[in-house]
Symmetry: C2
Subunit: 439 residues, 2 copies
């Protein structure tokens, strides 16, 4: 495989919807997924929502012959749900847990307990070093009123930071997973523009799959159609993104998705459709590196980045405002609980001071009220701590974004940085306004 | 500065002990630190335990003239306490929060609330790209019976992973901070051996500071001597570590520490001593890259790495055993609380079924007991969730370590990987035994 200058690489990605006892036909579907993977013989398989380690281990036993190398990423209470199977040796693995990931008290949404993260595996493909990432971002439960948007934007920000900073020595970069974002959503643009990752679906000429590459389709019987409103036919939220390097050119030759129903089986593999892409790696001519870097640094590209990061900052600020308000509400409720407790104790203490006065409280009411006050105090204290951590994470992301905008603007102004670029001074004035060049 | 082939770089690191209202003379000490930094004119200043953002902002105002660029890393409830000030432009910043960091109920130790992390800043020094890291690991409260050791080992593991994976494109790497580990502690060896970072203190010839480079000394009036038992004079737990690249050779020319008391001031800067190092960067001859990589891959070095990771795995397994036991205890106590509640409700319900029977419970006792049961249930549920997350993190780190040992052993066996190296088969048999080559 490594002897020719062109290498073919088959990549598979699927959100398995593997919540034991809750997802429908979970075990049967895992058996179907195992069969499919054995039959199709991919090079790299990226799975999400493999929530139970037992299911991972049973897949591993089944796939051992075809995919001798694998890694399961652990995070959170029941997560991260991310697994990778590979025909090529996994040399190293690393996990980055997103700093924000929903709320523990939204247990019915469950994202917080999943400990969403991005897993990185370093694969040796022939003589090439591939950095393969698998991730699953926070779900979007209501597109019109998406309370989790700031969290997802911060996740997308951290994802692009992680990929950008950890792919320094990579010959090729592949990201697969359920991003829970539509192709033109803010987080998606942020991710693609900053990292230079390309959407394989948008490039491919030979495509066989659902209309518009959708991966959550109305025809899938596991889908509640309310989930995809207002999109009647479905949405595209699962991706295989890719990037080459100065050494390797990477191109998506063909791509396909499953289409809901599976021949000879009563139900689909999952509530998501699986993606598989056939990639072509071609050894590059030397000297292309500088050219790629210069392409990344065109004033147009830099200005686009400034716009996107500014949009993301606005979204994070909205989230920050909400988190601060929630923290304030928790603090106020806690103070009220404390005041109620003190009031109750004062009233109850009256007979102690005025001997002979009657106990004003029926005893049962006294204890119930006291228990209520303690419950309020404990809950608000925990919430206050949680919201403070949320505020810190949002502020942290916003600080990083401000720094990034500052650096981008400096580059637009033509100040030579590590990679000096001769660009004209063309930042529109409205972009220069609100941000200093440095935090 | 960038016109000659040799660049001098002054780096400063200090754990500021900046807990507002709790640390002694906090504001006065910050004023002293500000004066020192203004006077000394370093290139890069790495601070830890700047717990209050107000203190960071006041330092930033004071140091704006000498250090125009700065970044404050936010994390956890009150953290991360990490700050960086720089004469050189900060191009980008990124934070990695350690997955383990003590226990929230150990509030008097406070580490959990600090959200310990490693901050990375990318600096442009002339035409060089410096990746500067600042970190602060979990404190060691009792060396003989260090219950936090597995957490600190996992932090050291994550720190080396983060540095290794994010320093791909760096011309030079600098890490400064309070590692809370002695020079030969497991985590320290893990960090240095895996990343190739060198301890500036061990290399320097011109040193002016405390004996043996100690940074927590008995002579410091803020130190409780019990903290450093059994080391009478003090310990060395703060470091400046460094590494060059194929492009740049980095060397520590001279180094100094503060020595407890400060002339003309009634008390020291902090409970830790400050470190400052003068580094010399020399442009390398081309072609050294391959040589460096080959040095990193000698069989001796690989075998040493296998030994250290194996030792770390053992420590993580000990932690895993404890965490699983604690989780089991939480579950068992929760079940007992539930049983008690059910028993109470059953006894209380007797009069409902056997009409005319007397209520067996005094009402007050009933409510108190019920409240106690609920408190037990809530606490054990929270603890169960927390310990499950701890178990997942420890398992995750152990999985990564197993993968690393497998890869290292493969390289020792001479199987060509991404960077093929001709090494003899020399792994001692006892090292090959327990670990498969791949997870």
């Amino acid at each position: 495989m490594a002897t020719t200058d062109t290498i073919s690489l088959r990549v598979f990605s699927l959100n398995c919807w593997g919540i034991r006892y809750l997802s429908k036909h979970c075990l049967q579907r895992y058996a179907m997924i195992g069969e499919l993977l054995c039959k199709d013989q991919h090079d790299v398989v990226l799975l999400q929502e493999v929530w139970s380690e037992k299911d991972y281990l049973s897949l591993k036993r089944k796939l051992g012959g075809s995919y001798p190398h694998s890694h399961y990423f652990k995070s959170g209470v029941i997560g991260s749900g991310l697994a990778i199977f590979s025909r090529h040796r996994i040399d190293d693995a690393f996990l980055y847990r997103y700093s924000l990931n929903g709320y523990p008290y939204m247990a019915h949404h469950g994202d917080w307990f999943g400990g969403k993260a991005v897993g990185m595996a370093i694969l040796n493909i022939g003589r090439l070093r591939a950095h393969v990432y698998v991730t699953h971002l926070h779900a979007e439960y209501c597109r019109d009123k998406d309370t989790y948007l700031p969290h997802r934007v911060v996740q997308a920000w951290e994802l692009q930071q992680f990929i950008r900073h950890t792919s320094g020595g990579a010959d090729l970069v592949i990201l697969g997973g359920d991003l829970n974002m539509h192709p033109q959503d803010l987080g998606n643009r942020l991710l693609r523009t900053f990292t230079g990752l390309r959407d394989s679906y948008l490039e491919v000429t030979k495509f066989d799959g659902c209309e518009d590459g959708m991966t959550l389709i109305a025809d899938n019987p596991f889908i509640n159609k309310k989930e995809i409103v207002p999109f009647e036919k479905g949405i595209r939220i699962d991706y295989i993104l890719l990037k080459g390097s100065s050494k390797v050119d990477i191109r998506c030759e063909s791509m396909c998705t499953t289409k809901g129903s599976v021949p000879d089986h009563p139900f689909p593999y999952s509530d998501h459709e699986a993606l598989s892409a056939e990639l072509q790696l071609t050894q590059n001519q030397a000297g292309d590196d500088q050219q790629t870097k210069e392409q990344d640094c065109t004033p147009g590209k830099l200005a686009e980045l400034v716009d996107i990061v500014t949009e993301a900052r606005t979204e994070v600020k909205v989230g920050l405002h909400c988190a601060e308000r929630m923290r304030y509400t928790a603090a106020r409720t806690g103070v009220m609980g404390l005041a109620l407790l003190l009031l109750e104790l004062t009233i109850a203490a009256v007979p102690w001071f005025a001997l002979g006065a009657e106990q004003p409280f029926p005893r049962a009411t006294f204890y119930l009220l006291a228990a209520l006050c303690f419950a309020i105090l404990l809950t608000t204290a925990l919430l206050y701590i949680f919201y403070t951590m949320e505020v810190k994470s949002l502020q942290g992301a916003e600080d990083q974004m401000r720094l990034a905008v500052g650096s981008l603007q400096e580059r637009l102004r033509g100040v030579p940085l590590a990679q000096p670029v001769n660009v004209e001074r063309r930042t529109p004035p409205e972009r220069q306004g609100p941000f200093g060049p440095e935090e």
